[in-house]
Symmetry: C2
Subunit: 287 residues, 2 copies
């Protein structure tokens, strides 16, 4: 008979549980998620497991990071399965608060990162990163981990949270983890399951386009406009998808570059309107 | 030969010093200040001394809470004296960072509290509370105290910080401390020293006006408009002052009330343009 992973839903309970292991001198790693766990999340949990005495996974579909016309209601929820997967990947505790626990009546405080949040996904998702920053600040304050793990797939989120934690002097290391992909290259995402079979067949074109850009840089191309055209050309292999953005930006500032120099990120977002699914992906390039 | 209080200027140093006492199991109280300490601040330090094993005073004139036309450059600075006063009041450590330490290049993160910051001082000082919330978040994250002490003189600041700490789940108790006054009733403020002698002679009219409102409530007056008129009438005793606001608000939400019910705050701000000094004061009233 296997024991099931402890699952707590209140701030007081998770603080008590973490306080107990802290009192024994344990280090704490945290993986904040919105659930619907896939191999990408599990790789974060495994990384946390390898580096900390105790691993906490939070599962909370954060309403404040969804826009009014976005997919909050349709976002997949599968808590029992997520708890099992978390445990199998090495988690010790799941924190799954309610909306009321996280945003009680009278809630009025918001955390914003300027600049980094304006381009890329920030342009088409106003308020998204304000919701992300606010909920991540809360989760980090509640669990007070030594390290928190985020995937490079959400490149802008990773840059924003890294900046936020540094700017607000939170005593926490933000650990980036490489994007996990399906065998055909599609980046793992909780939203992939919503693609129609036809969309799913086209979706690997996103990563192929990014790979094409990397190949061009490898043979000496530096002009961002040339790379942009090559990427958009490669994305025509996904005719069911509509390009939201293709951007080539500095890895640190996320500001657009005109030529590849230092480390850059090529990021893109494509909407598949048949299923109402928006996918993002990115690749890092160094000149 | 008396030892002088340890004074550190970097985040790393203050964390190390606090970490050392934490490792011994000590509790930590914090008093965030902008220096130019007066009896009001010292009462906060004494309260912290009584309730904690270690007391940290921060002294930082926070530029982000001053508007472009405000008195940042003229704000009094007297660090050596402030360190002596802190030590005499019971502090163990002074944290006095530079602007560069608190706001390094690329700083981009801000904390906002909505609603509570819109009236009272927020109306005439746009951005003020954003600066206050951001620097207090940083200072609390840097020092990680068990308790932080704030004066009731800055009633709106106290309400905003209390809400912020609750909303962001910071594991810190915000302890309010009563306003300390000169013998003539003027609330202690670092800005009082800047008043001209004539303005200083008129300044006790602020507290007399608040006291007049309290007396009226004590004999049964409940109408906020009547109280407002009585306060403004009493403020004519300070003809060198120009009323910025008089507001009667709910103590909890800071929303204006039309009648006294439950606990209310009467708050006012008066500008003395001769010296360019703006004073605030407030009083709590219960029906």
């Amino acid at each position: 008979m296997s024991e099931t992973i402890p699952r707590v839903a209140t701030v007081a309970e998770v603080r008590r549980a973490i306080g107990e292991v802290r009192a024994l001198g344990a280090s704490v790693g945290m993986v904040p998620t919105m659930g619907a766990l896939h191999e990408g999340h599990l790789s974060l949990i495994r990384a946390a497991r390898a580096e900390n005495d105790t691993v906490v996974v939070s599962i909370f579909v954060n309403p404040t990071q969804f826009g009014p016309n976005e997919d909050l209601k349709r976002y997949p929820r599968m808590l029992a399965r997520d708890c099992e997967l978390s445990q199998a990947a090495g988690a010790d505790l799941v924190f799954c608060p309610t909306e009321e626990e996280m945003y009680p009546a009278g809630f009025a405080t918001w955390v914003d990162v300027e600049g980094l949040t304006e381009g890329l996904c920030g342009r088409s998702r106003p308020g998204h990163f304000r919701g992300v920053c606010t909920v991540v600040t809360k989760l980090l304050n509640i669990c007070a981990p030594d390290r928190a793990y985020f995937g490079e797939k959400d490149a802008q989120q990773l840059a924003v949270i890294t900046r936020m934690v540094r700017d607000l002097d939170m005593p926490i290391a933000i650990v980036p983890c490489v994007t996990v992909r399906e065998s055909d290259g599609l980046a793992m995402s909780s939203r992939n399951v919503r693609l129609t079979p036809e969309e799913r067949a086209e979706a690997p074109a996103l990563y192929r386009a990014l790979t094409r850009a990397k190949e061009l840089v490898a043979i000496g191309e530096r002009d961002a406009a040339v790379l942009d055209r090559a990427i958009r050309d490669a994305l025509t292999e996904a005719p069911l998808g509509e390009v939201d953005y293709v951007e080539i930006v500095s890895a640190e500032t996320l500001a657009p570059v005109t030529a590849i120099a230092g480390t850059c990120v090529v990021a893109l977002a494509v909407r598949f309107d048949g299923s109402g699914t928006r996918l993002i992906d990115n690749i890092r390039l160094s000149a």
